[in-house]
Symmetry: C2
Subunit: 326 residues, 2 copies
């Protein structure tokens, strides 16, 4: 039976969304045991549904590693500690990204052989239903070429076991497609991947085409990856706001909206980061899923679904074996 | 009288778009002299309109610095050489970005005191009519903290003289807003800008909010800047393609389109990179404007307009003075 620790505080919209997510997740997954950490009075609806562990403190959204490590009575720290000490399969939180990633890495430790953990997220692409896995999108702010090579392996295993791709292709995010293009780090990583005949390595991809749907896995350093993630989100948000204004203008435009409503809804779903379940920290011992801070119950439930998939496939073990075979 | 050298070959859509751009630019600007470089037989419409200099070769789109420098009879190299030797005010091209930027830097040389030239572009923002100036978007693939500080100065002067902002604010592109966030390079740049009380320095901005309309100038290293530029373009393109599909679905959705046509047109105009006139290389002696490879006549004409504005304001001289006052 799979067992997860869930940090119920820390989501922007409050613990109620996490409570609802756990409830709907457990209806579909009778074989999973959940340990919910948060203010007991806010979790009363989970009585009889799962284990409740009272945690008085909430980690502030902007908390860094040191601050979180000191907050021993916070729902986030208690959840991570409990997962580690009780040997649970994973931990899920919508709280402070920096705090959660650092604390998870410090407490759970990286898998033997892994130089650096990486934050990975599946992105929507121009091809309906197709996701592209991009890493690192922000666990580090600097990476070595050797770390990028490991990210290629971890991303590849993720695409294989979470998306069922037999032979995922792998690209390096770069400022041009030619072999000589790239940052000093990515250029060396290119050389290493090529020399090692890394399975599925296809060379460089420009940010413009990273989401065209051709790439299964895109590897980058954590700083550029974070820029990629956030600029994509920013532009998508900006354009959908503009579109809303267009339709809200007057009665005729609102009538116009009725005709395209279904299409727009499909488009919004394609661009929706919620259904991807947030971001996963790869390379640590166990499953660590960071749900979006702005998660609603649906998004947090998707995060639980992904955690289950990662645990079922025992991705951490596969990464360990993959590194041994290098 | 301002004098510009124009590379008429190299645009994806052929020299005709450049010819038309020059014609419409010169109708509005009788006080500017243009030297057009390209295959004479393709430039016959410019007879009597401006100077025509026959250039047999065309630099291939993917050409790098070395290749371009060797192509002495190409329209691009001849235009840059002519600008330098005849003391013209600027050079404009829609050809190979890498080739044009490297050749311009090598031939025109950086302004005394400038460590590295930077490619700058104005981006559309969520606020109608407001542009945000971002640099470097790809002249380098690596930068030092001191170079980022110089970019802050050059970007600030650009915003002042091209957009008429008296006191432009300046942000560093980062993976978080707090002072401790950033790449190793941007963190040191933050410290330097803060210690120097750099006018208008406001700290870090995340890629998500870089185009919210708050920032006048956003400074980043060339690799991240290129990722930012191209992911923004990629998502904008992907979303407008999706939108087109939505409207083209059937008669009713096409009818719906009629009602929102005007609004969508306005939105497309806001997101249109053409009207910004491409990208400008700051920090070299003279005006260097790189029009989009995919420019049509309108876009290339905008590039000529920006070149004129930069030359009129003598931005290179202002950067030189600004650096002396540091």
């Amino acid at each position: 039976m799979l067992k997860f620790a869930v940090d119920c505080s820390g989501a922007d919209k409050g613990s109620a969304v996490v409570v609802n997510a756990i409830k709907s997740f457990l209806i579909q997954n009778k074989d999973v045991e959940i340990f919910a950490f948060g203010k007991a009075e806010e979790l009363s609806e989970l009585n009889g549904v799962c284990h409740i562990i009272d945690a008085k403190d909430v980690v502030p959204m902007e908390a860094g590693a040191l601050e979180v490590m000191r907050m021993k009575n916070s729902s986030m720290m208690m959840a991570i500690d409990y997962m580690k000490n009780q040997g649970l399969d994973g931990v899920i939180s919508a709280g402070s990204t920096g705090g959660f990633l650092s604390a998870s890495t410090l407490i759970l430790k990286t898998i033997p052989g892994v130089k650096r953990a990486a934050l990975v997220a599946p992105f929507p692409t121009a091809i309906k239903g197709k996701k592209t896995v991009i890493l690192d999108i922000g666990a580090s702010n600097e990476n070595s070429p050797e770390e990028l090579v490991q990210f290629a392996l971890m991303g590849s295993l993720y695409a294989k076991y979470v998306y069922g791709l037999a032979n995922p292709n792998v690209y390096l995010l770069s400022n041009g497609t030619e072999e000589g293009k790239g940052s000093p780090t990515s250029k060396v990583a290119f050389k290493l991947l090529k020399e090692n005949n890394f399975p599925g390595f296809k060379g460089n991809v420009e940010a413009r085409y990273a989401l065209s749907g051709d790439a299964d896995v895109v590897v980058c350093d954590g700083f550029s990856g974070n820029v990629f993630l956030k600029s994509s989100e920013g532009i998508a948000k900006m354009m959908s706001n503009m579109m809303k204004k267009v339709f809200k203008k007057n009665l005729w435009t609102m009538l116009g909206y009725l005709h395209v409503k279904k299409g727009i809804k499909e488009m919004t779903e394609t661009m929706d980061y919620k259904s991807t379940g947030g971001a996963m920290l790869l390379g640590v011992n166990g499953v660590v899923v960071k749900a979006h801070g702005s998660s609603d119950a649906y998004a947090f439930k998707c995060a639980l679904d992904v955690a289950k998939k990662l645990a079922e496939n025992n991705l951490a073990e596969k990464i360990k074996k993959g590194l041994e075979n290098e």
